[in-house]
Symmetry: C2
Subunit: 187 residues, 2 copies
């Protein structure tokens, strides 16, 4: 049985990432679920941010930010950075997270993240409650502990990535198959 | 230890949704991971599609599409719709999916999906390999089996939603906490 609801945000599961940003001697962390990959080549992603958030002007004025993936071990810190404002606290300290110097951008990355995507803003679009920043990925910082030393393969599935769905955080479940498994010929 | 990689798409986990579309007497299904919520109010989302895909012109010409959430039970059908073209087959039939008549849009939804988001395109932006369609959600179709009959609460966490991460599909793992849990006072 189906029923119709009034229009709303029910696209889940989504990532819940820590966005780091810096400008004019201040930096901050912001938790964002309104994010996603928008283009394969050039590699581009977006984040949508409410203009009243403290991080908004840091991102707008610097034209840079870093998307830091989050894990089950970071659930509490991620939630904390989503409900508190950095206007009058050092969220890194309060959430127990460590600044990692930026490589291709000025703002620091989150050392505890398995993957950090350094981004430069290409456009900003006001949509309503949120402004959408579309940005190009200019550098990727990865944790080498997820790399198989012999094959060089990166095992992101061992990072314990977290997702966000309809008001709840979840850890990654069991694998269901690799891209293309439905048409793979049996040997 | 950290290392730097050349720019790439490493924002995960992402949803893997079935996008349904129709125009001029043809309809199709397309699997998309480059999707996300871009605005809370009005409720808006995006999908990015390669212009060479068969579905691209159906979406561009109709200005409509439906985002259908996918579950672990739909993993094979979802993967199949992502690797095969609908130009010369009926993907619904081949993937074992059922058309549900559209309510606020012409194109059908996927009956097997727990949630379908009917959308109208508001803008299209070419970015490189992909064109980004930003769209407004105009109707939400939900499966009433996920509703608690006594409380009316919708238990999306019981749908078994699937996510996509770095080439692999995963089912939802255990819950880690609700939004705001990190600052909730103990009773």
């Amino acid at each position: 049985m189906k029923e119709n609801w009034k229009p709303g945000n029910m696209l889940y599961p989504l990532p819940a990432v820590l966005v780091s940003c810096a400008h004019g001697g201040r930096d901050n962390l912001l938790t964002v679920a309104w994010t996603g990959t928008v283009c394969s080549d050039p590699p581009m992603l977006f984040i949508s941010v409410r203009p009243e958030r403290f991080s908004y002007s840091l991102i707008r004025d610097s034209g840079e930010f870093t998307v830091n993936l989050t894990t089950a071990a970071m659930a509490r810190a991620t939630d904390f950075c989503g409900v508190r404002s950095g206007a009058d606290m050092d969220k890194w300290k309060e959430a127990g997270l460590t600044r990692l110097p930026g490589v291709a951008v000025v703002c620091p990355a989150v050392a505890e993240s398995p993957v950090s995507l350094e981004c430069k803003v290409r456009s900003e679009t006001p949509l309503g409650t949120h402004n959408m920043f579309v940005a190009e990925v200019v550098n990727v910082i990865v944790d080498t502990s997820l790399k198989d030393a012999s094959t060089g393969r990166f095992h992101l599935e061992k990072a314990g990535l977290m997702n966000y769905s309809h008001g709840q955080y979840f850890c990654q479940g069991r694998p269901l198959g690799s891209f293309g498994f439905s048409v793979k010929k049996k040997k």
